[in-house]
């Protein structure tokens, strides 16, 4: 099995940031959260399904454009930094949202 690693890294980073955007947007906009909730019955299910579909679509789209000549270490560092930032933003957002 040979996957396009560069594209896989791009789609992972973009999917993680999509989750961050959906999460924060959903908390700040009632109408958007309602839209997420009515789409599948629960906002969290919609976020999960959207993320999965987005991940697959972005992977195949980028695979067609980007050639797989990735430096795995650099990309793993990029993905790790993006993920850690996303964790901090989500935690920080909910902390800020909770504290009066």
């Amino acid at each position: 099995m040979k996957l396009n690693i560069k594209s896989l890294n791009y789609s992972t980073i973009l999917t993680i940031w999509l989750i961050v955007v959906l999460t924060i947007w959903g908390e700040l906009s009632n109408s958007f959260k309602t839209f997420l909730a009515v789409s599948t019955g629960h906002h969290w299910i919609t976020k999960g399904m959207l993320s999965l579909i987005f991940f697959v679509v972005v992977y195949f789209m980028i695979s067609k454009i980007v050639k797989d000549r990735a430096d795995s270490t650099n990309w793993a560092i990029n993905t790790s930094i993006a993920t850690i930032l996303a964790v901090i933003i989500i935690f920080g957002f909910y902390l800020w949202h909770f504290v009066p």
Partner: protein, 154 residues
């Protein structure tokens, strides 16, 4: 039913962390069958994360929102839901994609994984990230269970 769902969610989640820990251990001390074992552990870890996602998600959507969340929010520690649970349920969504990425690199690199230092380092870094986030999520799960019991659930 509720206890069974939570138990499966926790056990599959912890075993997934353990599977990626085994990938790290194998890569740090490579032997003859390391390449095969690393593939198996990464694949098992990814499958377990998806099982944990589906089972935990079913519990969260079916029972948590109606039976647990209101009690925690009305209790002495509402932050357990508003900060810890909200963070856990969304950060968890990162794990399936990180595990697909780590497993994808392992399966795509084949024999190169053990020879190419950069590829090995990339897999080690991603596995460490999965393990750290997994452990943080396990800790948050413990806090939520404690908060639920303190709020009178179960």
């Amino acid at each position: 039913m509720v206890n069974l769902l939570v138990t499966i969610h926790v056990i599959t989640g912890v075993l997934a962390i353990f599977a990626f820990l085994l990938v790290v251990v194998e890569l740090l001390d490579p032997k003859e069958k390391t390449a095969k074992r690393v593939k198996a552990f990464a694949l098992i870890g990814t499958i377990l994360i998806f099982v944990s996602w589906v089972v935990g998600g079913y519990y969260y959507v079916t029972y948590y929102g109606t039976d647990v969340k209101p009690l925690i929010k009305e209790g002495a520690s509402p932050w357990i839901h508003s900060v810890v649970m909200e963070t856990k349920e969304h950060v968890f969504l990162f794990l399936p994609f990180l595990s697909i990425l780590a497993t994808g690199i392992i399966f795509s690199s084949n024999a190169e994984l053990l020879k190419n230092h950069k590829t090995k380092l990339a897999v080690l870094l991603l596995c460490a990230l999965i393990i750290l986030i997994g452990l943080a999520i396990t800790g948050m799960g413990f806090l939520i269970s404690t908060g639920a019991r303190a709020a009178g659930v179960g």
